[in-house]
Amino acid sequence: MTTTRELAFIDEKIHETEIQTLKIYYIPKKGFTKSYAILTTDFGSKDVAFSIDGGETYKKYPEGIAHFLEHKVFEMPGGENVFQRFTELGASVNAFTNNHQTSYYFSSTDAFQESFSLLLDMVFTPHLTEENVEKEKGIIAEEIKMYEDHPGFRGYIEALKSLYHVHPVREDIAGTVESIYALTAKDLQECYDAFYNPRNMMLVVVGDVDFEMVQEEVRKRVPAGAPLNLVKKAYVEPKEALKATSTLEMGLQVPNYIYGIKVLPENNNLMKESLTGSLMMKLLFGSTSHFYEEKLKDGSINDSFSAEISLDHDRGEIFMGGESKEPEKVLEIIGAYIEGLRHDESFFSAQEASLERIKKAMTGSFVNVFNSVDRIGVTTTGMLLHGEDLFAYMDQLKSITMDEVQDMFYRVCTPEASTKVIIR
């Protein structure tokens, strides 16, 4: 049965149904040339230890296995070149793995049904052999090394390593050259069987397509999922960062700096917590904040400076970073500013007007997500995976008070949870 919900204010709706145990969401976009489908499994780089019998004895797999499997899902039985097939259909196909998900997607202007069937067949007919797994190791090793030459990426991983004691989010999504050479076709098959169960997956379709057809193809091509007894190992992180400081040498001309804070979410409303966090970051460090205006003016920072927060159910991070010839100095300034705010009782109450202005801007940005089928697909998937209701966004945003922002600041922005990373 399909249910439909409308977001009248921005003239959008979402249809939801479940077929063969697979949850399916369709967001119609009449008049768009491109259509987009994204099929996701709730399996990311952090899921390296799990049990499939509901128990608490976890089997541990090499780091990078979710990402490795993503590469191999593109293999078709019979050795058919799936990239070539999608190209023949005029579709662009790709995939990504992050900490908590693996997603396969394509966009097409014609022949949506054929491309969509191909995507389903590709994901639901694994073809893992010792030979094709070996072949992939060289390619992924080059991918890992490519990222190792990227200062921003290295800084990000280094900051995660400095913040976390045990959580596997501290490992590179792709693993290491050593870890990927250690994994086997059998390991991959076990992970495939555990996570590529439609009960553990979701499909989002965006564009001007026939939703009946989508459901019919799923009925034909997706095997109904067996009962799921999957238990992912949970990790208990201390509140404190593992290291207060860290430096990485890459031989850079211009050093990068990152001020990271580990955030352990407190309540179950992840969307509200994320929105409160975003408001807090924009208020304190965004391009309209006192900090930004003052520090840009005195030359301490430049427009490479950015401040972001990202939250998941079991953990989250704040990162402030940029490029500077004096990275230690900038990190000191950020630390001192936070410390100052912790003792400045009038700061937040004086910012009510800014909070309203920032909410207005965030509303506009949210509305703009609906200008691109790709962005709608990725954003919707991300929110649904986190159990967040896309259509509650506006109301949640409106409801957040300055007191809530202030409380979050006091709870989250502590020196103990912070780390300072320099890449030079």
């Binding site: 190209t87 662009s92 196909v93 390619i139 030459d149 211009v254 205006e293 202005r357 207005k360 200008n371």
Partner: protein
């Protein structure tokens, strides 16, 4: 007006204005980079970049930037603003006038021209640009590609879009004001996209941007210009602290958007190295596991083609040989009709997809206009349909290797 284009569509929640001022790459490119940054640091009415941001937030988070893009022999200085359509604003306010007035303020009333302008800000932006140029060196693939362009080309296309550190020295306030004056007199091109019912009304509003009236509307370039290759450049091997080798190869495509063989070039590149369906991807990555990323690309306005790959430095020669073999196959016509038809479908699909992005569509059309090319997207699709296998072979035959830049690691460990 000829230099104002309008794309009418109601499928987006926002509207956008993209104003492009092309500057020659042989001009003071470094200066224009710094000028663009300075123009973002404040205006007469918005005292700082934060003031600008506050105003944009108040316009429901309007998006604004001044971007610089290298296109053929030109550097495009692009003023872009995207803002919510009045169907979605809280009180149905119409933001067109505000957006146009904002662009006027940015272009005509920058803070840095004032007598009481804080000189420290100029010093900061000079230093910021120095860091920006230096940081390109830290992005190894980008750096290597920049190097091969400088090695193999002797005309203005060799210059990177961000300019040179040595040119920062002469950038005084007076010089920057001169550049600002010069920018305002250049021919400018504009596209407005979105919920536009009365085209004339928007045209009229846009014509309040004086740059669209006053710029000396010179004849468009309409030709490939003079390409001058340094065929003696050869191969340069450089050593740096990298985990992975980077190779960048430069070719004279002997084809461009100004010539009849353009559509064949588009197909050639798609089959040869233009994606996951291409020969380079399948041969070098899928068959030999030698790379994660390998691609070929070209600039249709300069006729320059490049190949970039990240590979283990020990495999440089092997990969170069594979590239040569694949190019040879293209020259000998060793590719199937199926490969041609797949590439054709893919290219046409990408062209059609541009309709779903205001920015892609206006960028694509503006660039053609700047260079005096009258193609519509439909013309290009028709052109792609008309290409024969023989024409692709002919383009492949004309691809001439010019130079190669290879970046290898300092610490060469053999245990992986």
């Amino acid at each position: 007006m000829q230099n104002i284009g309008v794309i009418k569509t109601t499928k987006f929640k926002n509207n956008a204005i993209s104003l492009v001022v092309p500057v020659s790459l042989s001009e003071n490119i470094t200066g224009y980079n710094v000028l663009a940054q300075l123009m973002k640091r404040g205006t007469k009415n918005f005292g700082s970049s934060s003031e600008i941001s506050r105003y944009l937030q108040d316009l429901y988070g309007a998006v604004f930037d001044i971007a610089l893009n290298k296109v053929g022999e030109k550097l495009f200085v692009i003023f872009y603003i995207g803002f919510l359509d009045n169907r979605f604003t809280l009180y149905k306010e119409d933001l067109w006038d505000k957006a146009i007035a904002f662009l006027n303020e940015i272009i005509y009333a920058p803070a840095f021209i004032e007598d009481d302008f804080d000189e420290d800000i100029l010093a900061q932006e000079l230093e910021n640009h120095r860091m920006y140029v230096e940081s390109v060196y830290d992005d190894k693939g980008h750096y290597s590609m920049g190097r091969v362009m400088e090695m193999g080309l002797m005309d203005s296309v060799r210059h990177p879009e961000y300019g040179y550190i040595k040119d920062l020295e002469g950038l005084t306030k007076d010089v920057l004001i001169e550049l600002w004056e010069a920018l305002k007199k250049k021919p400018a091109f504009c596209y407005a996209s979105g919920n536009i019912t009365k085209e004339e009304e928007v045209q009229e509003k846009l014509s309040t941007l004086a740059i669209l009236n006053e710029g000396e509307q010179k004849e468009a370039l309409k030709s490939l210009g003079e390409r001058s290759y340094n065929r003696a450049a050869g191969e340069v091997y450089e050593t740096m602290k990298v985990q992975q080798g980077k190779m960048s190869l430069l070719y004279n495509a002997n084809a461009s958007v100004f010539q009849d063989n353009y559509f064949a070039l588009v197909l050639f590149n798609s089959i040869f190295g233009g994606g996951a369906h291409s020969k380079l991807f399948n041969e070098v990555r899928e068959k030999h596991s030698l790379a994660y990323s390998i691609y070929s690309t070209f600039d249709k306005f300069s006729g320059v083609m490049t190949i970039g790959a990240g590979v283990d430095y020990r495999n440089f020669e092997k990969v170069k040989n594979l590239i040569d073999e694949e190019l040879q196959k293209m020259r000998q016509g060793i590719f199937t009709d199926q490969e041609v038809s797949a590439a054709r479908t893919k290219i046409k699909s990408s062209l059609r997809s541009m309709e779903d992005s205001m920015f892609s569509m206006s960028s694509y059309l503006t660039a053609l206009r700047v260079f005096g090319i009258s193609y519509t997207v439909e013309d290009v699709m028709k052109g792609i349909d008309g290409v024969t296998k023989e024409e692709i072979i002919a383009v492949a035959g004309g691809i001439e290797y010019i130079a190669g830049h290879y970046l290898q690691g300092e610490v060469q460990n053999d245990n992986d």
